[in-house]
Amino acid sequence: MKALVVDDSAVMRKVLIGALARAGISDVDQAADGQEAVNSCNANDYGLVLMDWNMPNMLGIDAVRAIRGAGKTMPIIMVTTEAEKSRVIEALKAGANNYIIKPFEPAHIVTKIQEVLGAAG
């Protein structure tokens, strides 16, 4: 299974790639903004997307809308500092499957990834 990690921080992408590896996912693409993420999703079949919110060029929330608008159904987990309740609701309405707020415990994100993939069947 191939995953996509979307974050404008290269350090955070590496942290998330490490979490994916601990969850058993080693085939990972990276994108540094929402537009790159949309392009990658149009060109690949991912089994999971981890999506930041605040990024240059295109916000993660807009990327989620674009990905869902293109008919893609893979699980998308928002991984973001945006912790307000209204943001969480907005993301879930846009089509995100789950929401992880930074800062997170390293073990927590591995568990969350496994939960989301389990629910996706």
Binding site: S9, A10, N54, T81, A83, E84, K85, K102, P103
Partner: protein
């Protein structure tokens, strides 16, 4: 505006001490508003990095001219106006990124800049959510900016008040500076920001 790390925040007495240092000029920043940012520092270091952190006394910042620093700055807008900066000695920044990535880091490079930018992003993001409850309009974050080099100076306009909080951790010391003006009424649902 308090959470599991409320033990770390500024007490009423400490807030009053800070207020008295600048008198009326501090009207532009409520000293209590520093507390969500202090909590967020603790959340980041203790939850995500597993690192103990302790803070020193809160003061009014007059700027910075420490040539060993690497500084990450992020702006806040919408129902609040302000900015947060985190300044690290180079040694702390290197150890911080080592801790984040689990790999040895010896030179201040783009990866380290990226790491400290993410740190200020997480601290500001976590803090801003503590001001807005009940579905109110979220405070917006800018993209972070990083300053690094052997000789730079940071000055603040006389009208702006920045509070400074020094921290010490197992990774080394660092300091946070915050200027923040928040209008709670602007976060109520239905208001545009």
């Amino acid at each position: 505006m308090v959470g599991p790390f409320e033990r770390c925040v500024a007490s009423e007495t400490e807030q009053e001490t800070v207020r008295s240092t600048r008198g009326e000029s501090l009207v532009s920043m409520n000293v209590e508003h520093i507390n969500p940012f202090i909590e967020s520092v603790h959340e980041l270091f203790e939850t995500m990095l597993g690192i103990n952190v302790s803070r020193g006394n809160i003061g009014v910042s007059t700027g910075s001219n420490n040539p060993r620093e690497i500084m990450a700055l992020i702006g806040l807008s919408g129902p609040a106006r302000g900015a947060v900066s985190i300044s690290f000695p180079a040694s702390t920044a290197l150890r911080l990124v080592e801790q984040l990535l689990g790999v040895e880091t010896r030179v201040i490079d783009d990866t380290v800049s990226d790491g400290v930018a993410e740190v200020v992003n997480i601290i500001a993001g976590s803090a801003k959510a503590k001001f807005v409850t009940d579905g109110g309009t979220p405070i917006e974050l800018s993209l972070p900016t990083v300053f690094r080099g052997s000789d730079f100076r940071v000055d603040y306009p006389t009208q702006s008040v920045w509070l400074e909080v020094p921290f010490n951790t197992d990774l080394g010391p660092f300091s946070m500076r915050v200027t923040f003006d928040f209008e709670e009424s602007k976060t109520k649902e239905g208001d545009s920001a």
